[in-house]
Symmetry: C2
Subunit: 342 residues, 2 copies
C-alpha cells in the first residue's frame, strides 16, 4: 500500500481542483456549471482560436498547469488516468469560444478520442466548429510508420505550447491547426520506468519492476514498454534513449532543438540534471544546438519513479512559438531579455 | 536499494551541476576557479549587497534554483546532505561583491554554521564585510523559546526571497540583514515524512517508516521528528500541522499570509493540492487572508515521500518583498499585472 496524503480516494480529483483554485485563482477559474472545466482568466478573447486541452488526472502539472495566457484557454479534467466525459470539454470550449473556432488537443488514447469526438459533435449542434490535433510523441508506443497510432506523453508540453502561442498570436484556426500538427510531427519522447505508482482509489502498485530492472518505453499509465533490461548507469540509459530519438528525428548538423528532461514523479531533480548533462553531450556530439531546456516534473504519473526525454526539432516557426511568453499556474515563459530589463 | 538514474554516486553532485549549467547557462554561471560556486548572470552589480545562500545538495531546487536576478546572487553547493566547505562560499561572495557587503543565508545546521563562519573570517582578511542570517523556520526542531536552535527547512524559499528582493532594491547591508531576520522570525514550517530517501552513494533508505505510519516533524535529512503516528487522511494531517503553526504564529483576524505546500520529493502535486484545499479552509476559518500560495517540490530530500506546510506571516514590508519580481532557473516571480499587459 503506497503511503499517500489523501482523504477519500474517489474524491481526490475534485479535492485537488479545490486546492488548485485556492492557490491559483488569480490565473484560473472553474466553469460555473462544469467544475471539471478549468478556464484561463486572461487568455480567451474575441477573434482568438480557443485551445482546449485535457485528459486524465494524475499527470500534473499536465494538463491544468498549462492553462493560461499564451498557452491553453481551458482544460477538461478526467478522473485519475481516465478521460474526461464530453460535457466538460464542451463547456470549456463554449466558455472560451471567441468566434474563431475551437482546437482540441490531447494525447492519443482511445477514451480521450471517443469523448472529445462526442464533444466535437455536440459543439457542431451549437454551430461551433471544433477540430482536433492528437499528440503522438511517444516513440515507444508504435512503429515509426504508424505514427498516428502512437500515444501522447511529455512532448505535450512543447506541442501545446506551440499551438497556444499560435492562438495567442491571433492566427486562424487553419493556421493554428497546421502549426499544432507540425509541432507534433517534430516532437519525440522516450521514457524509462524504475518503480510503479498507485491509484488513490487502491493505493496498490499498478505494475511491478524488480529491483535492478527498468522498463524502457513504459507509458504514463503503466502501458507496456519496448523492453525490460537491467537498470544501468544514467549515461547508458540516456544513450539508449537518445539513440532512438536521434534516429527518428533525422536532424542535420546545425539544427536547433528544444529539450525536456521530465520526471515521471518520484525521480528528483538531481537525477534529471545528471541525465541532462549526458543529453547535452550527445546533442553537442551530433552538432545540434540546444535552444531551450526544460527540466522537472512536467508530465507525471503520480509518484512513478522514472524519467523521459523529449526533443522538439525546431525550425524558425516553432522556435518563435516556444519563445512566445506564457503565464500559467505551473509554466511561465518569460519574455526574452526579461532578466536584463530591470 | 533505491532505483536511481545516476552514474557514480560520488560524482552525482558535480554531474548534476554540469546538467544545470547545460540547461540554464542563460541565467547561471559557474565560478571559473570554484565549480561548486554558482553565480547569477544578471543580479550582481556595484552598490548592491551580495546575497549568498548555500548548503548541502539533495534539496533541489533549494539552493541553486533560487540564484538569479531579484533573489540570491550566488550559491555555495555542498555534497549530498553535507555543508559546502568555506572556499566556494568565499569565491561566491567575492565574485558577486559589489562593495556593499555580503549577506550569507542558510539553514541552521552545525556544519553549515562552521563552514560559513570560516568563510566570513576569510572574507574579513580580504577587507570584505560578511554577515550571516540563519533560517530557523522548522517548528518541530526545538521548543518555541529556543527558536535560535531550530533548523531551516522549506521556509527558506520565502525568507531568501524577501532578503533577495531587499538586496535587489539596493537597500543597505543593515537593512537587508534586518529584513532577513524579520522574514525568518515570521516564517513557520512543519512537515511530515511518509517514506525515506537514500543517498546516491549508498542507495539505502536513510530511515524506516512502517506502512501505515508517518513521522510528524522529521527533518529534511531524516532528523528525528516530534512523533510517529498512524498515517491519517490528508485533512487530519493538515489540521495537526496547521494547529501547531497557527498557535506559534499568533496572527490576528485580517492578517495576511503567504503559503507554501512543499513536496519532500516523491509526493505528487495531486496530494499537495489536496492538502492546500484544507490549508485554505483553515486559514479562512481563522480569518486570515492568503496573499500568495506556492505549491510544489521547492525544498526536497531527494525522493523522500512527504510534505511540509510553511506560512509566512506578512506585513506590508514582507508582502512588498515577496511580490518583487525575480528570475531564477527554478523560481520566477512575475510582475503584478503581467498577465493583463499583453
Amino acid at each position: 500500500m503506497t503511503q499517500k496524503l489523501i482523504n477519500d480516494g474517489n474524491a481526490a480529483v475534485d479535492e485537488m481542483l479545490d486546492g488548485v483554485m485556492a492557490a491559483h485563482g488569480d490565473l484560473l477559474q472553474r466553469h460555473e456549471r462544469a467544475p471539471r472545466a478549468i478556464v484561463a482568466r486572461h487568455g480567451p478573447r474575441p477573434g482568438k482560436v480557443a485551445l482546449v486541452i485535457g485528459g486524465g488526472s494524475g499527470h500534473e502539472p499536465t494538463f491544468l498547469g498549462f492553462v493560461g495566457k499564451g498557452l491553453a484557454d481551458a482544460a477538461a479534467i478526467g478522473n485519475v488516468f481516465a478521460s474526461p466525459p464530453p460535457q466538460p470539454a464542451v463547456d470549456a470550449a463554449l466558455a472560451t469560444y471567441g468566434g474563431a473556432g475551437v482546437l482540441f488537443m490531447y494525447g492519443n488514447y482511445a477514451g480521450d478520442v471517443m469523448n472529445f469526438d462526442m464533444a466535437t459533435e455536440l459543439l457542431e449542434l451549437e454551430g461551433v466548429e471544433a477540430r482536433t490535433v492528437l499528440t503522438t510523441d511517444d516513440i515507444a508506443s508504435a512503429p515509426r510508420d504508424q505514427r498516428e497510432r502512437r500515444r501522447g506523453v511529455a512532448g505535450n508540453v512543447f506541442i501545446f505550447k506551440a499551438a497556444g502561442a499560435a492562438a495567442d498570436l491571433m492566427m486562424s484556426l487553419d493556421e493554428v491547426e497546421r502549426l499544432a500538427r507540425h509541432a507534433n510531427a517534430r516532437t519525440f519522447t522516450l521514457g524509462v520506468a524504475l518503480a510503479p505508482c498507485s491509484l488513490p482509489q487502491t493505493r496498490r502498485a499498478n505494475f511491478d519492476i524488480a529491483a535492478g530492472e527498468m522498463e524502457i518505453g513504459m507509458g504514463i499509465h503503466g502501458e507496456p514498454g519496448m523492453r525490460r533490461e537491467a537498470l544501468r548507469p544514467a549515461d547508458a540509459v540516456v544513450d539508449e534513449i537518445m539513440d532512438a530519438i536521434l534516429a527518428e528525428m533525422g536532424a542535420a548538423k546545425g539544427d536547433r532543438v528544444a529539450v525536456l528532461v521530465n520526471s515521471l514523479g518520484a525521480t528528483p531533480l538531481m537525477e534529471l540534471y545528471i541525465m541532462n548533462r549526458r543529453v547535452a553531450q550527445r546533442l553537442a556530439e551530433a552538432g545540434l544546438i540546444v535552444h531551450r531546456t526544460l527540466v522537472g516534473p512536467l508530465c507525471t504519473s503520480l509518484e512513478m519513479a522514472g524519467a523521459s526525454i523529449t526533443l522538439m526539432h525546431l525550425d524558425d516557426e516553432l522556435q518563435r512559438l516556444l519563445d512566445h511568453p506564457c503565464e500559467c499556474a505551473m509554466y511561465q515563459q518569460r519574455r526574452p531579455g526579461d532578466a536584463d530589463d530591470r
